[in-house]
Amino acid sequence: MNERAPLGRLALGATVLAGQRLRLLGKPVPETLAVLVGVAERGRDTARHALRRAEDTAKKARDTAKNVSPRPPKRVREFLDEARSRGTKTIRVGQLEAKGWFARTMDDSIRWAERNVIPRVVDDMTPHIVKNVVPKVISGVMPQIRTQVVPMIIEDLSKDERIRRLIAEQSHGIVTEATEELQENSARADDRLEDSFRKLFKA
């Protein structure tokens, strides 16, 4: 998979993947398509090696005539089986190559964008956003927040039972603490006054 994939097979794999993503093709690939691809591939191979095979054509033709003529359906079936097998294999390989190619391409693109594009865009856009966009947004939104959002939040908070309970507990705690301190101070004052009274009369 590391060597560069043939463009045709890559395109085939991408087309099949796209067809499967769009649910135009099922999984696995239909046999008809595999046969067509196999036939096309075989035709391509045949054309590619036509010259080399030309010398043997006559002899092969004679042999074929001898072998096939008596059993033409078997030859056809073998041909179709081979074409289907070959087409299926080609499509599968094409799918894998297309997936790998897409993944590599996306990763490379994202890395490139992260390294080269995004920092530059952010650097260029930030002063513009801070100087022009943010003040406009704030000046446009703040009146709405003041008149609509803040009162709503305050109303929600004031109606929230937990907040009310918290405030009540805090208020009650402050009052209780102040009262207890007052009581302690008055008790100490009682003791001091009586001590002074006793000292005075003892003396």
């Binding site: 207890e180 009682d190 006054l193 009274f197």
Partner: protein, 144 residues
Amino acid sequence: MPGSDYAGLVTRMAALIVDAVVLTLVVPIMANGPPSMWAAITGEAPGWLKSLCQIAAALLPILYFGLLWWGTGQTLGGLVFGTMVRRQDGEHLGPIRSLLRAAVGLLLPIVWLAGMVFVLWDPRRRALHDRLFGTVVLRKVRRV
């Protein structure tokens, strides 16, 4: 008697001042409020309403002290300073004893205040009127 469970002179006088302030605010309202409201609506308050309000205002301090000592043993001043009036055996005061204690205190305030000096040497910090009515003033919360 440091650390005593009984309220001393300072605490009792402070509680009494709180009660006096409350009554100073409420009694005039009781005496003049309803006639003033009536006058605002119809122009002139009837004499019976004025008399009724005067009587209610005069009785209010006795009812205030008497009913609160009977009910909880605590007036507002006692609530603030954590004191409560009880019988010497620790039980709640009855209504007669409470109302009599309040009436004597309000009708003879000089005797009442002078009798408070007894608190300074009494082992249970009882004032003169406490000895008279068989009561004590307990401290409700003692954290010190």
